[in-house]
Symmetry: C2
Subunit: 624 residues, 2 copies
């Protein structure tokens, strides 16, 4: 039994309880007190903060040859992934292909200095591309301004420490959202796969349109597309082959070399397929004068000249749309893009953190500055992409410095290779996207979710369905709200254990133990239940407050009413093991002669023995 | 020390822990299981349910002479309060005075049968009147339809058990709202007090208008008004006089009689002042032919003939407004009125429950049916009013039967006395409202709130200010949302206690104790902090889960990552005293060989002794 110590509130200040499991105060203050502010200020100006806010200062002094080699290999491998990905993603965003490349170098350079996670090459992502399409509808000027504003918002959120907001997106909601986005992106590529026209905005409309227009499909586009998908999935499988891992002393040198080759084949599969497709397209055009499959078409070459993001533009009907009109057209997208991009980025950082902690604030700042810089290169919004990070981590990346090589490769591609990109068949790029995106459909979380907590399937599946039927931001918002209602229900409905116990001197009493904090949504429920338990008999009631870690004014008012009710019924009510912080809240409102706290068993004995209400043993009755 | 028992999750099912303070499951299920439904069904058809749903069946069999006398006195006294109140409140609602009386009898009769709280005479209330004015803008047809729809919504909420929603209105928010409403109602009466024209919708606009038009005020209206306010406040004080209560054997017979007279004077002060005012007005008109103060004017006499509430009406510009247009004009008011009326009603029930429990569901049903019935009498929305309940309770009410006498008095007044009401000066009614309403400004909660929890002043004062500046429903909604953010912050930021302990065999370990549940908003924070505490040293870490009463899938994923991280760092991590319900959630996701749970001290010793990671005593390092 826990040692108990008596404390009658009317007698003065509380002794510090000595039982560590029950009633000690917790050491982490929430930073609202004066001391916290002073510490926070001091923290702002030391070396640790510098390393935190400029992560380059942490790893550059220890940079060596081994790390440089790791970064070089990783950077080049990622470059080979980024180039075809960027071309394909700009198609999702409804923009010309070069805009994907425009967003794939300057952001990388910024991330070297500011980024906290070595495996994140900043650039266009599938989700951000889809959101850009939904928000900017393929208007280049709006997409670029969106990059600038989203960057500003990210930076602001970082400075204001609002990164915690993404904690309110739970695992199920995040899985539902990602899965829905994956399906929508795959759907958006069907038109290129079959070379047909697809209309409609929602998932359902698009599939209806696909089945209506499928008869207009050419033969060779789907043949090439599906062949590429098959090839890409095969190469992905091949890339996972690991010889000799099952033998006792691990793979030998030959097996290791073979494994490395297979891994390279798997990693560079996108680049290989795109190059082969491009060569095929070039061969068709140069020998037959035309291609049986649709090609990407001319892409302007050269790195863009840095220029201000467009703060106005001229519409098709020759009217000028000014800055405020653009902002109102972008609407909530200015907030949604930063939050979703950060959500994806933090998920990646967590996956590759090797148990380290992740600084969400620093990530917001890094991505914010990267996006602002990108907007001067006419890029559309981007962030970290899981596909690239897997490659990056697998290539033995050491620091964020690998971004330099990736960025340089993109610049080289823009400067010298854009003329060759025009021969890449559209169906090949569609195949690249589809064969990557289908692995983002997280059907495999359903089983553990079912086993762990079936209720969590509601926000998960709900978000998935809503994201497919409503605009994405509305879908995820509804999921988050539903999940928050779970939290509120938890706060409103504590559980109780009720036991009839006997004190050392043989007096029976009822021990009622609520299992969580007393905050306003639950106080009436608690009061009602305690009254219900107690009104069945006239024995003294002990309210066990060990688990009540927090309370508020509404709770204090309710406790006051409860104690007054018990007093009127002449039924004793004692409070056991109330935490000092909670006790002071109750004391401020309740009448001291009604509110009796004790901390030790013996004290309960004394209280029960002394209580005059228990002496005549009369039945409880309301006072006249 | 709490007895601990070891349990390794990989070994199979959990033994039921025997320590009642720590890890037992709580006995009250939330009613979602099958057994709960069956019990609920059975409960639906027994005597207790009948008494609950038709409270008249509970008290009528025990009705006796003593109770009848108590109810008679209370009913008549309340009637003397209700009549002047109803005339005055309809002015707040912007409707002709008789509409207040129309809502003061049929609802009372309904409440006799269905009502659960004896001290609630259903009728017009100050808050509902102000809301009716804000929603219906003085259009009689809209106000009556609002009564009907609000009644339907109340009934529906009762049947669906949505009464718990008002738990989310905390004490501070409720106080802020009530105080703001009181000030706004007082402001609305200033025009009658000075007999001036006041324009503007918000609190500020109205006061600006008052100061602009104050020079047009007549002399006698404010003189009469302020005299009445002074008189009413004086009579209120006199009513509180209690002679002889300080003497040892209580007041003697003469003192008791005096006290009773004083109490009657205080209780009937509104009726007395209104009657005196009416006589004064009548005298002026009959002797001078006109009155120096503004009078109420003619009031149609007679009880209204029951008729359907208006489902369409003809506007001033001769266009017909149909049902759907009316509903869309009433808008959110159809939901706001029921919630606010219920909020006020439950607060009153709590104040006069004498420690009994309150059935919010039954109250919603009773008020719903009462309002639907009232809508057939052309009344505007109402509910329980604190002022009447204080009188009712003070008059020795015994059952809800007192409503019969109150209702009959209102019918008598409508039938025979309306011709005399026209001589009541408007300033007198304004004085009646103002001198009652100023006591609803709850400035006295600020001090205990400040002492109990300063943070609660934010929603309290915030709601007060917002209700004065925004439409009332927006003001209270914002207050509720701000307060819900507190709950979410609580869920997102648990506190920790961290201690370096030594096991019986002398091995040091770090004990980390979070103080509340693990739900999605907090899991990342917990993981980051545990990692931070642990990474400082290589000692084993024990996560004390006594206070973790609940978890979800996101938490389980985070625990899986945490255990995998510790495994990668070769640092042992054990879980102590995990509740079975939480344990099964974690087990569904985490790898069993990483997730080790124990319940007893000795088992920790054995775990520490057996752990091979602790044998070579090497510094923790990430695996290659």
């Amino acid at each position: 039994m826990i040692p108990r110590r008596k404390h009658n509130v009317s007698s003065g200040s509380l002794p510090a309880p000595d039982d560590k499991h029950a009633s000690n105060d917790y050491i982490l203050s929430d930073g609202t007190n004066c001391e916290g502010w002073r510490t926070a200020l001091r923290r702002r100006f030391n070396r640790k903060t510098l390393n935190k806010r400029l992560p380059v200062t942490a790893w550059l002094p220890q940079y060596n040859m081994e790390k440089a080699v790791g970064d070089l290999i990783a950077g080049i491998t990622v470059g080979l992934t980024v180039i075809p990905q960027s071309l394909a993603y700009s198609n999702i965003a409804g923009l010309p292909p070069q805009y994907g490349l425009y967003g794939s170098f300057l952001g990388c350079f910024v991330y070297i200095v500011l980024g906290g996670c070595r495996a994140v090459p900043a650039g266009p992502t599938a989700i951000a591309s889809l959101l850009t399409w939904q928000i900017a509808n393929g208007v280049i000027e709006k997409a670029i301004l969106l990059t600038f504003l989203a960057g500003l918002v990210e930076l602001l959120m970082g400075v204001l420490g609002l990164g915690f907001l993404i904690n309110f997106v739970s695992g199920p909601v995040s899985s539902g959202f990602t899965s829905a986005v994956a399906l929508m992106i795959a759907t958006s590529q069907v038109k290129d796969l079959f070379a047909i026209t697809v209309t409609g905005n929602t998932f359902l409309q698009q599939w209806i349109s696909v089945f209506r227009n499928i008869h207009t499909a050419t033969l060779w586009d789907p043949v090439l597309g599906f062949a590429c998908i098959g090839l890409l999935l095969l190469m992905r499988k091949i890339g996972m082959i690991k010889l000799g891992t099952k033998s006792e002393d691990g793979p030998n040198t030959r097996q290791k070399a073979f494994n490395k080759c297979m891994w390279l084949l798997g990693t560079c599969r996108n680049a290989i397929v795109v190059v082969v497709g491009g060569v095929l397209g070039y061969w068709f055009v140069s020998t037959h004068g035309a291609s049986p499959v649709r090609l990407m078409g001319a892409i302007p070459s050269g790195v863009p000249v840095p220029q201000l993001p467009p703060f106005s533009y001229v519409r098709g009907d020759n009217t000028t749309v000014d800055f405020l009109d653009m902002v109102s057209e972008l609407g909530s997208g200015i907030l949604v893009i930063p939050l979703i991009v950060l959500l994806e980025d933090i998920a990646i950082c967590k996956a590759f953190s090797d148990g380290g902690t992740i600084d969400a604030t620093q990530e917001m700042i890094a991505l914010g500055v990267a996006n602002i810089a990108n907007s001067f290169m006419q890029a559309y919004p981007g962030g970290g992409s899981l596909a690239r990070s897997v490659v990056c981590n697998g290539s033995g990346v050491k620091t964020t410095f690998n971004g330099l090589y990736t960025g340089l490769m993109v610049i080289l591609a823009l400067q010298f290779f854009t003329q060759y990109f025009e021969f890449i068949p559209k169906a090949v790029l569609a195949a690249v996207i589809i064969s990557a995106i289908i692995f983002m459909v997280e059907y495999n979380v359903i089983k553990p979710m079912w086993r762990a907590k079936k209720l969590d399937l509601i926000p998960g599946v709900g978000t998935f369905v809503l994201c497919l039927t409503l605009p994405l931001e509305l879908g995820i918002l509804t999921g988050v709200v539903v999940n928050i209602i779970f939290i509120l229900y938890h706060a409103a409905r504590p559980k109780f254990s009720v036991e009839m116990l006997k004190s050392a001197s043989g007096v029976e009493y009822l021990m009622v133990t609520p299992d969580r904090c007393l905050m306003f949504p639950s106080v009436d429920y608690v009061r009602r239940l305690v009254t219900k338990f107690a009104s069945g008999s006239s024995v003294p009631v002990v309210l066990e407050c060990t688990h009540i870690y927090s309370a508020d004014y509404t709770a204090a008012k309710s406790i006051e009413q409860l104690t007054a009710d018990f007093h009127a019924r002449r039924q004793p009510l004692y409070f056991y093991n109330v935490k000092p912080s909670v006790c002071s809240i109750f004391e401020a409102v309740a009448k001291p002669e009604h509110f009796v706290v004790f901390y030790e068993d013996e004290e309960l004995d004394r209280l029960l023995a002394e209580d005059e209400r228990l002496q005549p043993r009369k039945t409880p009755a309301a006072e006249p």
